[in-house]
């Protein structure tokens, strides 16, 4: 009995440290036990996972380097746009999915570097304004460069990954379209890789330099860390990860869709998710996105359809929908979390220490 308890507590400790393994095992096994995931719910889950990837990119910037970034959705959109330009049959390039992903992530990172190199000398609010402006510029460019981006209709249809590839008699492209579990697994694998990457980065010399620059830029400068270069690397990595998420997103939807989806609202929603979850914390980011976007994408539609049924039985017309109140609910959630747990739901150890110091 005692040894059992000891092993249990040992397991709890181990899983706290290596939380990725149980979490991703459960997520990977979920479609077996919950076959609904093959349908619409799977698609919704996939988009939550994709936003998790983008939020991890933002976390590198806001959490580790401590710079406010209000335009992450524009990099998300740029990644998707490049993928669409490279793959849609409307354009003559039509290169395969995998090289297209590499090229578009590279291009997004290059744009991030280009934007970052003159602006990262700015601090705080000024950088936030620059990224905010960049987000709007990208959105307006998407709308106005109609021949390149398809304007408000977006570019499409984007062929699914592995279209035309036959593996053991299965047409991969067709499978991706028919069964949403394929994209679910693809996103899950990419998310897992990105989680590991961010974790390795956080513990690398570069990650320590990020945190040093965030904590005390002056002291970091006196040990020879060039704040601009270090920040630029974070900005570029954030842009690349967000671009990767954008690629997956447009591929799973099949079109780039309305460019307004890559605007300020999306950026702020992702930022809110990162803050609610806990700045600088990887599990926190995932939890924040799951709560905020899971609520928005998965919970609200199902609750609304249920409520409509109920209200239809009672009053003949639907009176109240949760969907029209969702932004208010998100705002209230943010206020409550910030009031009672200002370091976020799962704060990183570092951030908790820093917060404690600033309170003293």
């Amino acid at each position: 009995m005692k040894s059992q308890r000891a092993s249990l507590s040992h397991f709890v400790k181990w899983s706290k440290k290596n939380w990725e393994i149980p979490v991703f095992t459960i997520l990977a096994l979920a479609p077996w036990f919950y076959p609904v995931l093959a349908g619409g719910l799977g698609r919704q889950m996939t988009s939550v996972l994709i936003i998790c990837i983008a939020a991890l990119g933002l976390n590198v910037m806001v959490g580790f380097t401590g710079l406010l970034h209000l335009g992450i959705a524009s990099f998300f959109g740029l990644g998707g746009l490049f993928l669409a330009i490279l793959t849609v049959p409307m354009n003559p390039l039509e290169i395969g999915f995998l090289p297209a992903v590499f090229v578009s992530v590279g291009l997004t990172a290059a744009i991030g570097t280009l934007l970052g190199s003159p602006t990262l000398r700015l601090r705080g609010e000024y950088l936030a304004i620059v990224t905010l402006g960049f987000g709007e510029v990208v959105r307006v460019l998407f709308l106005n460069l109609e021949n390149v981006t398809g304007g408000t209709q977006g570019l499409g249809p984007i062929p699914p990954p592995g279209s035309g590839m036959l593996v053991m008699g299965i047409d991969l492209g067709r499978e991706f379209v028919v069964d949403s579990r394929w994209f679910y697994y693809l996103s899950l694998i990419v998310l897992f890789v990105v989680v590991l990457l961010v974790r390795v980065l956080e513990r690398s010399p570069l990650g320590r330099a990020w945190i040093a620059v965030r904590e005390e830029p002056l002291a970091a400068a006196t040990i020879g860390i060039s704040a601009t270069k270090v920040r630029l690397s974070a900005f570029t990595i954030a842009a690349a990860i967000a671009g990767l998420a954008g690629c997956l997103s447009v591929a799973s939807i099949g079109t780039t869709g309305d460019p307004n989806a890559f605007g300020f609202n999306r950026s702020v929603a992702i930022l809110c998710a990162v803050i609610i979850g806990g700045l600088g914390s990887i599990p926190g980011t995932l939890v924040g996105v799951t709560i905020l976007f899971g609520f928005d994408i998965v919970v609200i539609p199902s609750v609304d359809s249920w409520m409509q049924r109920m209200q239809g039985q009672l009053f003949d017309v639907s009176i109240f929908t949760l969907g029209s109140w969702r932004l208010a609910l998100v705002g209230i959630a943010l206020i409550i979390v910030m009031r009672f747990r200002p370091v976020g739901l799962i704060p990183s150890r570092r951030f908790a220490a820093e917060f404690q110091e600033s309170q003293q």
Binding site: P92, A212, E215, A220, I223, S226, A353, E354
Partner: protein
Amino acid sequence: MTRGENTKTSDGALLSTDIPLLSIDRLTVQLGGIPLIDELELDVPVGSNVAIIDSGRGAKAALLDAICGLWSASSGSVRLDGHRLKQGFSAKTFWGVLFTGILVGLLCAAAAVDIDRLWLAVVKRGLVVDEPFTPANIGRRLRGYFRAELAVDRLAGNWRIVTADGREVLAVRRNLSEARELRNQMQAAVTARRTGPGVIPDITDLVGDANEPQRELLLDETTLDQLADGKSRIRFRGWSAFICGFLLGLGMSLAIWQRGRRSPEVAARAGVARTFRTPRNFPAMTVFENILVAVEQSVYRKSSSLWPLINKAHCIKRTEELIRSVGLADQSFSFASDLTRYEQRCLEIARGLAMDPRILLVDEPAEGMNSQQQHALASLLKDVCEGSLTLIVTSSGCDPFTMICDRTVCLSPQ
């Protein structure tokens, strides 16, 4: 107003080296027009310990800031080993500046020649008229766009003859070969108009209803002039935007380079370490990490290899060594925010030493400490500065730190 003045020199032998490690030449630092330091001359030889005293007008801090590049001096120079602590104009800078200029120029040019229309002309139009997407075809269409040539396009089953950017439709034909022929005739007329007055060609089209068709001239005088003008217009737009963008990019990157020339990290890389009056550590990092960051930086700079390839075991060993040497071994894994003032000061010194500096600037170490701690810290500083490390300590009076120095400089108002 103030002048560096040697008050005590205990070790004459040390001063006889040819080139002093740090030489300050007619340094003036101003704060809002009031000089804090006025034409200071100071030479610090290798391995000496120097204490700097003033009566508390901020001149000490200003001097340290001027040495390590936090504060730029209004005149005079600070040299380490005869080199000024400034970043030079290297080949890397040159290529970086040039690359930025060209990139910004290209972006401006893309905006000026309307990248959207360019995409339409080069990529989309080829698909519409079923030309294969080969480099030759792309090149041809690209040239056509920049020469403002006429092109054939299709809309709703009709072949249209349009200007290169697709804004103006000049004629509509039912089949492709006819449209191509008409386009060639028109283009010939436009090219002729470019070189000289040319003649208005007899290209007409049937308009009006089916019963009473009328013939209308397709290219009149003004249209022809406009089309002929197109080439120079687009070239002018593109080139002027490119040149403006190039100059803008060049100027911007040069300005950024100039502003970053004299920064603390440049001084730090040259071997100047410093601590602050109020200890500045990384509060959310453990003591171990605080020092590890600095060790990694110096190892990375020396090895000139990529980030992931630096020797981790070596870094950790060096960090542990440093922690032991300042006596923080028990605190190794507590956060820097939990340390006492004395321990924070020790941590700061260890972090400075981690860079293998040639000169260590310690700003008012006596502040906020009782005399026991002051003595402990002074003996620690004396120990670490045994070798060739040069030490500069500031102080507001006579304390244990001035005792360990072999020279005291007083920045006194005259």
